[in-house]
Amino acid sequence: MTLFHFGNCFALAYFPYFITYKCSGLSEYNAFWRCVQAGATYLFVQLCKMLFLATFFPTWEGGAGVYDFVGEFMKATVDLADLLGLHLVMSRNAGKGEYKIMVAAMGWATAELVMSRCIPLWVGARGIEFDWKYIQMSFDSNISLVHYIAMAAVVWMFTRYDLPKSFRLPVTVLLGLCVYKAFLME
């Protein structure tokens, strides 16, 4: 629509991150660079996932209407790498206690925002044509911020030794839900 519309969508997408960063006290811990490192890990993990998918999963040659359950299931399993990545970030990145989660999630989600949403917004929202999908995209990034924070928290809980046994099951279920979310939505 114009630069103004782009500004609107960008604000809608980015400001919650900014607010979360500021208000959760991360700034007091000089965690900016750690967030960037978490973002770099995100990039690395995505690259590995892409290479893996491209090498081992050939394109499905079947009909257009048939949904390849097995294939998509395998592809979704690769998203487990996301969880491993988060775990890696949290274990390697020094950071006190609970703030590890926040740092990892913030860095991860910001990297995802920049990589997957900035360019469509720039190209699309700046054009003359108006489409609701840009607002949707920005809103979606807000939701994924919350989603990643929750995911990081669950991963952290999974790796704790002193977790009561009763909590293990819901934690595992939640983790499973995170990974197969996209798959289940289909």
């Binding site: 103004f4 604000a11 607010i19 054009g127």
Partner: protein, 560 residues
């Protein structure tokens, strides 16, 4: 956070100078890059004519367009693109749009003209010359209708007509959420085309029996005219004339191959271009043949010149003359033969001679024979139209269904018979009026039909047919099959005082973008600011929310 970020950037800048370039140049390039936008709908539009004839400008002068769409019912039309459908088109509405200084006018034509009721077609045909006569700065485009364009039109219609609705709150909500369309053309401003050459073709059949034979010239112009050059197919005017000329060429070349039927007349066939622009092709051809060459068939003994113009329909035939032929001349003989053939063989045809003096004070000449008349060559035009001002001669509605093939072939036979009687001098030899020289099969209807179909398959406006065009080369090939000495003849406008000037940018691609009004952006900004405020408060007081949630879930665990 900003301090850390600025520290990082500082280090980056201080360390190496090229690094900053690597960072900045892509950013700058991305910022200034032009936007490839996707449109809601992209369609081809055809511009109204733009030309200068003898210094007088006609038609629309502008080609670029980047305005919001509205329909005629809207109140504010200035600097907007007015969309009209052909069924709703009327001259008053068109004038209203122009008076309110609209940005552009787009007229949507149905894909199949024959579905339109006759009175609308007739009314539009009559309006075309009026639209062209007034010189408009506003670009006027024609588009062919399809489903998406129709939906764009209906949406614009609902939003335009509801602008006058009642309450202020409604209007506010409506303007904030309406779906507008921005129409943008992708071309440049129109410029005059320099060095455009109009092509004409000539061919001949030489007569037998010595030198200095009389010559009969048969002429038809092949170009078409309409309010939009790309939409002018010119079926009846003058596709019928050209196909008849080709058929006559075929018939007489067959006759001339046998010694017994080889007559003592030279036949010269001329397919002229630029006919609708005051017969430029014919004018220059005459100048070249009469002034600039030493010997030409036109300089010696010309019996008469017969121009064929619009003969594909109707049950009447008019022979237009600028001077009534005197007795004893070959023109008089042709007139008499035509009357004889009509009365004895085709009684359903009403034949008459129409006498109209050449008026040199007029902007344009009426019929093609007047060009020959000015050079003192005896000429007439045959047409089923009574007057040269008939709208059918220059309309985009003149498409293939306008030509009735049976009537065209009947007219062809009629003219062939009359010509044969003149050439072979049959009346003097005592042949009766109803002697049929050409039998039914000789005039080939399929040939006529295929020529007319081919001619009407593409627009033949003079601005679109240049010397490499397929129309010209196909006509040349066809003439070459029957005639000898087929030659091309080119007309270019004079540099200092051009008789005709054509302009380009006649066909454009128009994009319709869905846009929202500016207020919508502001509204959205306000909503987003409110949303962000709520989020900020939620995060600031996250502790409160957390304890609230715990209090809700806590009684449940206590019950365990």
């Amino acid at each position: 956070m900003f301090e850390e970020a600025s520290e990082v950037f500082d280090n980056m800048f201080k360390s190496s100078f090229p690094l900053t370039f690597i960072v900045f140049i892509p950013a700058v390039l991305i910022l200034v890059s032009p936007l490839p936008a996707e449109a809601a709908h992209e369609f081809t539009v055809y511009r109204m004519q733009q030309y200068d004839l003898q210094g007088q400008p006609y038609g629309t002068r502008n080609a670029i367009l980047n305005t919001e769409a509205r329909t005629v019912e809207a109140e504010v039309l200035s600097r907007r693109c007015v969309i009209m459908r052909l069924v709703d088109f009327s001259y008053e509405r068109y004038q209203k749009a122009l008076r309110q200084s609209a940005g552009a006018v787009v007229i949507i034509l149905p894909k199949n003209m024959s579905t339109m009721p006759q009175d609308i077609v007739q009314q539009f045909m009559e309006l075309e010359p009026e639209m062209l006569a007034t010189e408009t700065i506003v670009p006027v485009y024609f588009a062919l209708e399809d489903d998406e364009l129709l939906s764009i039109y209906t949406q614009t219609l609902t939003s335009s007509s509801s602008q006058g609705s009642s309450s202020a709150a409604e209007v506010l909500i409506h303007t904030a959420t309406a779906n507008g369309f921005q129409m943008v053309t992708s071309g440049a401003q129109s410029k005059a085309v320099s060095d455009w050459s109009i092509t004409s073709l000539e061919g001949r059949l030489a007569g037998t029996g010595g030198e200095d034979l009389p010559t009969i010239v048969l002429v038809a112009h092949y170009d078409s005219f309409g309010v939009a050059p790309w939409l002018s197919y010119g079926a009846d005017s003058n596709g019928s004339g050209v196909s008849m000329l080709l058929e006559l060429a075929r018939l007489f070349s067959r006759l001339y191959t046998y010694k017994r039927t080889h007559a003592g007349y030279n036949l010269l066939f001329f397919v002229s271009g630029g006919g609708k622009f005051n017969y430029q092709g014919t004018k220059r051809w005459l100048e070249d043949n009469l002034d600039h060459t030493d010997s030409s068939l036109l300089q010696d003994n010309v019996a008469f010149v017969l121009c064929l113009d619009t003969l594909g329909n109707g049950d009447s035939l008019h022979l237009h003359v600028s001077k009534p032929p005197k007795e004893g001349t070959p023109q008089y003989a042709l007139l008499k033969e035509l009357e004889t053939v009509v009365s004895s063989q085709y009684p359903e045809v009403k034949f008459s001679m129409v006498h109209k003096k050449i008026n040199l004070a007029d902007d344009t000449l009426a019929w093609e024979h007047e060009r020959f008349g000015i050079r003192r060559l005896p000429a007439f035009t045959l047409s089923h139209l009574n007057s040269h001002r008939e709208a059918q001669r220059s309309s985009i509605m003149d498409v293939r269904p306008h030509v009735d093939l049976r009537k065209l072939s009947r007219n062809t036979k009629l003219i062939a018979e009359a010509l044969a009687r003149v050439i072979y001098n049959l009346t003097e030899k005592g042949a009766p009026g109803d002697l049929q020289i050409f039998t039914e099969q000789m005039v080939q209807e399929e040939q006529l039909s295929s020529v007319v179909d081919w001619l009407t398959a593409q627009p033949r406006a003079a601005q679109l047919v240049d010397k490499d065009s397929s129309v010209v080369s196909t006509l040349e090939y066809h003439l070459g099959r029957y005639l000898k000495d087929v030659r091309r003849h080119y007309v270019k406008a004079d540099k200092r005082d051009p008789e005709f000037v054509f302009y380009d940018q006649l066909k454009q691609t128009m994009n319709a973008y869905r846009v929202k009004p500016a207020i919508f952006d502001l509204l959205l900004a306000v909503c987003i600011a409110a949303y962000l405020g709520v989020i900020y408060l939620a995060i600031q007081h996250f502790g409160v929310l957390y304890s609230l949630v715990r209090r809700i879930t806590a009684p449940k665990t206590k019950q365990h």
